[in-house]
């Protein structure tokens, strides 16, 4: 902008007429494949590129909507903590940075704690809001993890944490570092109550966040392509002065190196999580010897790979049959059983009916 555009242009444009009111963010480019993405299609695809499968970031509220059944959840209040313990000031005051972030995100700090069901399983989710100061962990975030864990224990629900964070919040100095043990104390409460503690590692999970509660989960699930690590790439490169291996610190790399259990595409997250929680929650359910013997081969294993629609329906059907026999198993969990049956000519419609029936039973239970 200069005097020309400020003073001359407005006059001309007023002659020509006001600019057409067209939002300019209808299309965006996929950062991975450069494919053009239409906003409505993209949001329908849960912000996953429909050309190449690249996972773009989702907001923390979308995240909860994806994971909880029907996108329904109840937000849990977290008591406020003392603000700015250090009276920190760099080029800007920390309190000003906080206010800006609060105005931007309409959130008290970089988290949301919510309760609901994931595929019918009770769960409390504590999710980081990366839009709030890079999802950094200070006392308020530590408090949110504690509140989430305590709620899970009180309601006998699974506890799911979804980090998306650069690490500890520098502006809170050592108070932020102390959130590392504090968060581990929180998740230990969940573990001591024999409730499942699942970590969904999303892009990015680094520093003090990865080196605390995020790496002590019962099950570690990561989203494809998520950056996960302790030290930053630049720091490592400056230390070793060598090129980093390809794919270094990605979810897939960590899977190869044994640090996480699985990399799961966004649209399969809720199913996977619900299934795991249901399997792990046996302690919360009455012992049923009949169901146990009946389930045998199906419960423990899970065949990976995409099933086509019909096979999937049959999987669900098998699941429904299993349900009738009193087995606490999700339909998809026993896809393995269903696969050989593909050869038989069971009608998909029957399967659908069975599934619905099973669903009703589940609700009744």
């Amino acid at each position: 902008m200069n005097w020309l555009s400020n003073f001359i242009r407005p006059k001309i444009s007023s002659l020509v007429g006001a600019k057409k009111d067209v939002p300019d963010n209808l299309w965006q480019k996929c950062p991975s494949c450069d494919g053009m993405l239409f906003h409505r299609d993209l949001s329908e695809a849960q912000n996953v590129c429909y050309h190449c499968g690249h996972h773009l970031p989702v907001s923390v509220t979308e995240r909860l909507a994806i994971l909880f059944d029907d996108g329904a959840y109840k937000e849990i209040k977290v008591r406020p903590v003392p603000v700015d313990p250090l009276r920190f000031k760099d080029r800007k005051r920390y309190t000003d940075r906080l206010k800006e972030a609060q105005a931007k995100t309409k959130r008290a700090d970089a988290f949301i704690v919510a309760e609901g069901t994931i595929k019918g399983q009770k769960a409390v989710i504590m999710a980081f809001d990366f839009a709030f100061m890079g999802g950094s962990m200070g006392a308020a975030v530590g408090e949110a993890i504690l509140v989430g864990a305590q709620t899970a224990v009180a309601h006998k629900a699974a506890f799911v944490v979804v980090p998306s964070s650069g690490g500890a919040r520098m502006q809170e100095g050592m108070v932020s570092l102390m959130q590392m043990p504090r968060s581990i104390i929180a998740v230990n409460m969940v573990k001591d109550a024999k409730l499942p503690y699942i970590v969904l590692l999303t892009d990015p999970t680094t520093g003090g966040v990865s080196a605390s509660f995020a790496m002590v989960g019962d099950v570690h699930i990561a989203e494809p392509g998520a950056m996960i690590g302790f030290a930053g790439k630049r720091v490592i490169q400056e230390t070793i002065r060598e090129a980093l291996p390809e794919g270094f610190q990605t979810a897939e790399y960590l899977l190869q190196h044994g640090m996480i259990d699985m990399v799961v595409p966004r649209k399969e997250l809720a199913d996977t999580m619900g299934r795991i929680i249901e399997i792990l929650m046996v302690k919360a359910k009455p012992y049923s010897p009949k169901g146990k013997s009946g389930s045998g081969s199906g419960l423990g294993k899970f065949v990976k790979g995409k099933a086509n629609g019909a096979v999937e329906d049959k999987a669900k059907a098998a699941g429904a049959v299993a349900k009738k026999a009193g087995i606490a198993a999700k339909a998809k969990a026993i896809k393995e059983i269903a696969l050989p049956r593909e050869l038989s000519n069971e009608k998909p419609n029957d399967a659908q009916e069975n599934v619905q029936q099973a669903g009703q039973e589940a609700r009744a239970a």
Binding site: V81, M174, M180, R182, I185, N188
Partner: protein, 313 residues
């Protein structure tokens, strides 16, 4: 001996005194007067300098290569020290040293970051920057302490966990997280002393203790002042500002209620008075262990838990 910039006037006077002392054998009598005059001047200057050390100067003292390191302490205060090695999974990591021994007559497990004191030992100990194996060895030793009912003494002195490809591949994050978890889970007392640099996650991995003491001129921080400056000020030249803002000195952290006590260093810092410093540290460890003695395993766990839950409220 490496020199700290702000100590230069003191070091010059000290050099002069030594010079005069060497001359005194063959020259006149008023040299003794001159020496004592210089000594007084040095002492005055030392008091002046060390009574108002700025945070960035404390950072330099905390990193002083002549400061006593973990092995100096262990050698001096742990009888029958028996070092143990290896994480039983992948390797031995000398950045974290530790083993069994007796502290003032009491059987114990001791663990510490060791930086090394010359080129050879610094390389051997990787400058005190541990890889996952170091933290896994620490976990092993803490398990042993738990099994045999031994208190754990940890000596903190690291710039941080090692940032390397292998370290990441073998789960640096997981190793630190599990180490913190282990600290919280064991049923015997843990007393930690920050003797030099308390560098972020790499430090707290073995410092999640019932009692945390800091030497007067040690630092404990979530990030190095240089790292903080390069991120928040966009320039490492602001390290001095960052050192102040981060409140990383013993005094600051005591005020914030994050550490339990400050161990005074003799005038001129630990690097000038190694033995005195080591003795003071030992006294504090004894004090800490005494305060924790008689507590049941559950009470000790609860003590740690309550202590860290309160941090941030």
């Amino acid at each position: 001996m490496s020199q700290l910039e702000f100590e230069k006037p003191i070091l010059e006077l000290e050099a002069k005194i030594i010079e005069l002392q060497n001359m005194s054998g063959d020259a006149g009598f008023n040299i003794a007067d001159e020496i004592s005059r210089l000594r007084q001047k040095t002492d005055r200057l030392m008091v002046q300098t060390y009574s108002k050390l700025q945070p960035d100067q404390i950072v330099q003292v905390a990193r002083h290569p002549e400061r006593p390191h973990a092995l100096n302490y262990i050698e001096a205060i742990i009888e029958d020290y028996t070092p143990l090695s290896g994480d039983r999974n992948f390797a031995e990591d000398d950045a974290i040293v530790g083993g069994l021994g007796r502290f003032r007559g009491q059987s114990c497990v001791v663990i510490g970051h060791e930086k090394g004191h010359d080129t050879q030992t610094r390389i051997k100990h990787n400058f005190g920057m541990a890889r996952p194996e170091g933290y896994r060895k620490a976990q092993r030793l803490m398990d042993m302490a738990d099994q045999f009912g031994l208190p754990v003494i940890t000596l903190i002195d690291t710039a941080g966990a090692y940032p390397g490809v292998g370290a990441e591949e073998r789960g640096q994050s997981e190793a630190i997280a599990r180490s913190i978890e282990k600290c919280l889970r064991i049923g015997t007392p843990i007393v930690s002393v920050v003797i030099g640099e308390g560098g972020s996650g790499g430090a707290i991995a073995i410092a999640t203790a019932n009692k945390i003491y800091m030497l007067q001129h040690s630092i404990y921080s979530v990030i190095s002042p240089e790292g903080c400056a390069s991120i928040l000020w966009r320039s490492a030249t602001h390290a001095k500002d960052a050192a102040i803002a981060l409140r990383l000195t013993a005094q600051d952290l005591k005020e914030l209620g994050l550490v339990d006590g400050i161990i005074a260093e003799p005038l001129g810092g630990a690097h000038r008075h190694k033995q005195d410093t080591i003795n003071s540290v030992a006294d504090y460890i004894e004090k800490g262990l005494k305060e924790l003695s008689g507590l049941s395993p559950d009470a000790l766990r609860k003590h740690r838990s309550d202590k860290f839950i309160a941090m941030g409220r």
